[in-house]
């Protein structure tokens, strides 16, 4: 053990006081108050201008029937940007989860596409669905990224699937991971199955409040496979033994300044895909659902909250309740389902919210409990357009 070397004391800072016998630091990235102010001014400028400037330079093509690509489902900054790009003042945004987005169908097989066709007004109905959403997250998405929706006509789809069990309702006490956890309320109301630590929750809160960080997330989603840049350089190809294809790639070369589009053709969706088939094709049978009472349902409360905010914001809202795949519900379980559905309709009535409760589609037009197949969406659009409530709302 030696005495401290001369080097250790050589870094003593110039402004040491008599009672400060400690060298400042080895690297001396030491800023004065004025320099800190300059740093913060630069950072605030960069943070404020970059997302704005990025919108100018990044190419974002929005073809007819556009929906956010599946791989960009977590890119909320892009979602907001997509909403901002709606220039038609009479456009109607269809908001909802994967049912609106079209889990099993192609963009030209979605509800918004068939509504366009039925009403004979191309590009009037905008697919505002996001894959993996649920009312708690949809409420957050609208709250933090839905500002461009102000004073618009909105069709809000309510998927009863989210009240079909405590697990789907996220009110079960057992821990579970779910999509879009950054959009759900982080502290109040408490979501029993959400067990993120305090730091994760606060990170989510900060990320959705600071547009610059949402833009950073956009970069990660759009160009780095939803990874941070360091994690992207380390990503493997999933084979055994793994290979690391990005090790020697330049991260900057990834940024093509063009928002990625969905794969065309999408092998996972559309009439040609193996997933596009009736729910009973794999031998599924009607089952019991453990419907959550509405007064204790987290998802329903979030949905109510969302409707109230949209109304407060000056939006003209039409709620479409279902249609849930009743063929999949066991006979003895149907009353519980109807009670839930009727309870929702009653609340909408009481609060003077325009709504439609479409009739259940034929069994063969459902891919699962709540997602129709292409023909199902077509029929649903026809029925909606024929319903007097819809026609009255559409004016």
């Amino acid at each position: 053990m030696n005495e401290p070397s001369k080097d250790a004391t050589a870094t003593r800072s110039e402004s040491q006081t008599a009672w400060d016998p400690v060298p400042f630091g080895a690297t001396e990235v030491r800023l004065s108050a004025r320099q800190w102010l300059l740093v913060w001014a630069i950072l605030v400028g960069v943070a404020a201008l970059t997302p704005w400037f990025w919108k100018k330079i990044e190419r974002f093509d929005i073809p007819p029937d556009y929906r956010l690509p599946y791989t960009l489902s977590n890119d909320y900054w892009l979602y907001q940007r997509r909403l901002e790009r709606i220039t038609n003042p009479s456009a109607i945004v269809v908001l909802g989860d994967s049912m609106v987005w079209g889990e099993y169908v192609l963009p030209d097989g979605t509800l918004s596409h068939f509504l366009d066709r039925e009403t004979g007004q191309p590009s009037r109905f905008i697919n505002g669905g996001v894959n993996g959403l649920f009312p708690l997250a949809l409420d957050g998405l609208d709250d933090y990224f839905g500002r461009p929706l102000r004073h618009r006509q909105i069709i809000l789809h309510c998927n009863l699937l989210w009240m079909s069990s405590p697990k789907a309702d996220l009110s079960a006490p057992k821990e579970q991971t779910f999509n879009h956890s950054r959009l759900v309320p982080q502290f109040f109301p408490k979501i029993p199955c959400y067990r993120a630590d305090a730091n994760e929750r606060l990170t989510a809160v900060v990320e959705r409040e600071v547009p610059f960080l949402a833009w950073v997330n956009h970069l990660q989603c759009a160009y780095f496979d939803q990874h941070s840049i360091p994690a992207w350089t380390l990503a493997d190809d999933g084979r055994d033994p793994p290979h690391y294809p990005n090790s020697y790639r330049c991260p900057f070369a990834q940024i093509t300044l063009r928002v990625p589009s969905a794969p065309d053709p999408d092998p996972q969706r559309g009439p040609q895909s193996p997933r596009h088939k009736p729910w009973f094709a794999d031998g599924n049978q009607p089952t019991d659902f453990d419907w959550v009472p509405l007064d204790s349902s987290l998802q329903w409360h979030a949905f109510q909250h969302l409707v109230s905010r949209l109304q407060r914001r000056g939006d003209d809202v039409l709620v479409v309740l279902g249609p849930f795949n009743e063929h999949m519900i066991a006979q003895e379980n149907l009353p519980a389902y109807r009670k839930t559905r009727d309870g929702m309709a009653a609340w909408l009535d009481q609060n003077h919210v325009a709504h439609v409760v479409p009739e259940t589609l034929p069994s063969a037009l459902y891919a699962d409990a709540s997602h129709p197949l292409t023909q199902g969406y077509e029929l649903l659009a026809q029925r909606l357009c024929q319903s007097p409530e819809f026609q009255a709302w559409l004016k």
């Binding site: 053990m1 401290p4 400060d20 060298p23 080895a26 690297t27 800023l31 840049i229 690391y244």
Partner: protein, 533 residues
């Protein structure tokens, strides 16, 4: 609560304003102690009992030590035992309390619940020693109790399993049926046997106070709150830098003067620490983990690069923590000692230890190496003392043979450097860059033992570095560029270009780049490596 998490920011945003608001009152110290205990309790509230116990005991021991004469005096033990005739009422009271506590512990050991017996035996032993210390008015006994108590805590929580496993293996090797119990069975009330975070740091800090007082290097601290704050001062509680009483206690005597410079300095230190931890250490950790988790599947270049990466990972992790700790303390106006000073630019192993974990190396120098005799009794004893000190230092880092070997390698390296530096040719003719390079390579070699999961893994890695095929290491270029950038900055900083790096525009530019890099490329969370020590 890690420094780079949002809960810590909230914690700090509560602690700092209240701290400054209390500057004209005498409550600021209490607030600091409360904040420190809260900070530590956030990890596990049960750990607080250990810190509190260690603090109370060492404070009391120094009080009692203060009532004992510096020179040995004859003591009428019989009179004391039979008539309780003590010169000092404090010692009489201590004797009575310690005796009663010994009897109480004995009773609980014999008749108490099964789960508290081992703890009562230990407590009874400490109380018995205290009674003897009071009886004989012996400063040395009080010091012994402090050392024994702090080391016992450390031994039990950190090394007991290692010792029992090794002894059991030895016993079974010599075919003895005797078997030591697992230390978890000795925990009172069935509490979990887990290593309390930062135990090696706060025990060493507390211990240094009692030893320094015994040696007459510091005055007795009369304010318990101040001493408690010194032991558990939250910025450095988890992983140092280990403060000395004569450095930190005087700073806690009065409210530090509020200066804008402290705030800006604190922020500057914190920012650099944040960069080291989040941008460099956490990133490198991914590659190191990938290679070290499966060394048999990796080629020689990957193993070598992962070892280099680990060298920078541990440096940036630990020095990043230290920078943040010093930054947080500086925000409040407290000055913690420098712990790292470009260790990978050292020109000798001895030099390395004056730049790496300075607070620990000076601790071992002052409390182990010098008491062993230091360099006062000839070269053989000097080398022996060095080796012993480094072996202990290695063992301090962790309860595994890999750490002991790591310590031994450093001990050997320091000895080798000493020998080399005696030669004028080496001192004056060998280029500085060459010295820096071999020291860095040597340190990297030692890190293999530090990082490997087991001795077998370490041996495998060393063997494969020299024998395995030269396959593509698949190390990200960005990672190499980052490390090269940090290395280059340090290299330039110790060269003639330092003046340029200290230019205002360079500093501002650097700070902006660091913040933007953190926003864009942060590698996520991960606890600090040194928390496990």
């Amino acid at each position: 609560m890690l420094f780079y998490t949002w809960p810590f920011l909230i914690f700090l945003l509560i602690v700092l304003p209240v701290f400054f608001a209390l500057q004209r009152t005498r409550w600021w110290l209490a607030w600091l102690a409360i904040a420190s205990y809260f900070f530590y309790g956030w990890w596990n509230p049960y750990y607080l009992l250990l810190v509190a116990y260690s603090t109370v005991l060492d404070f009391c021991l120094v009080v009692l030590m203060d009532h004992c004469p510096r020179q040995r005096q004859r003591v009428d033990v019989l009179a004391r035992l039979t008539r309780l005739r003590f010169d000092e009422p404090v010692l009489r009271n201590a004797f009575l309390v310690a005796t009663l506590a010994t009897l109480g512990s004995l009773t609980l050991t014999l008749a108490g619940p099964h789960t508290v017996r081992p703890a009562m035996v230990a407590l009874g032993f400490i109380c018995l020693l205290m009674a003897l210390g009071a009886l004989f008015r012996s400063r040395r006994t009080w010091l012994f109790i402090s050392v024994a108590n702090n080391l016992a805590l450390l031994l039990f929580f950190k090394y007991a399993r290692f010792v029992s496993e090794n002894l059991n293996a030895l016993l079974s090797w010599v075919h003895l049926s005797l078997k030591l119990p697992d230390p978890s069975t000795l925990m009172p009330f069935g509490l979990n046997y887990v290593l309390p975070v930062g135990i090696s740091f706060f025990t060493f800090q507390s211990l240094s106070y009692t030893i320094d007082f015994y040696r007459g290097n510091v005055d007795r601290e009369r304010n318990f709150l101040r001493f408690a704050t010194f032991v558990c001062f939250f910025p450095q509680l988890m992983a140092g830098p280990i403060q000395r009483a004569k450095h930190l206690l005087p700073q806690l005597r009065q409210f530090p003067p509020f200066q804008l410079g402290n705030i800006t300095d604190g922020l500057s230190l914190f920012l650099v620490g944040l960069f080291k931890k989040l941008a460099v250490a956490n990133y490198l950790a991914f590659y190191v983990e990938r290679v070290y988790d499966n060394p048999a599947a990796c080629g020689a270049p990957a193993l070598m690069l992962a070892t280099f990466a680990f060298a920078w990972q541990i440096y940036c992790d630990f020095s990043g923590y230290t920078d943040m700790a010093r930054g947080v303390a500086r925000l409040m106006g407290f000055h913690l000692i420098l712990n790292f000073n470009h260790p990978y630019l050292a020109t000798g192993l001895g030099d390395f230890w004056t730049r790496w974990h300075i607070s620990l190396s000076t601790w071992f120098r002052d409390y182990v190496y010098i008491p062993l005799g230091g360099n006062r009794r000839g070269p053989f004893n000097t080398y022996r003392n060095l080796l012993i000190t480094f072996l202990i230092s290695g063992f301090w880092h962790g309860a595994a043979w890999t750490f002991v070997i790591w310590g031994a390698l450093h001990g050997a390296g320091v000895m080798l450097t000493r020998v080399l530096e005696r030669s004028a040719i080496y001192r004056e003719r060998v280029p500085r860059l060459f010295k820096q390079s071999w020291v860095f390579l040597y340190v990297c070699f030692a890190w293999i033992f530090f990082r490997a999961e087991s001795l077998g893994d370490a041996r495998l890695i060393v063997r494969r570095i020299f024998t395995a095929a030269w396959r593509d290491p698949q190390i990200p270029l960005l990672m190499l560029a980052l490390v090269a950038g940090v290395w280059l900055y340090q290299f330039l900083y110790e060269s003639r270009v330092r003046g340029f790096l200290r230019h205002g525009f360079v500093r501002v530019g650097l700070a902006v780049v660091i913040v933007l890099y953190l926003c864009l490329c942060s590698s996520g969370g991960g606890v600090f490596i040194y928390f496990q020590f």
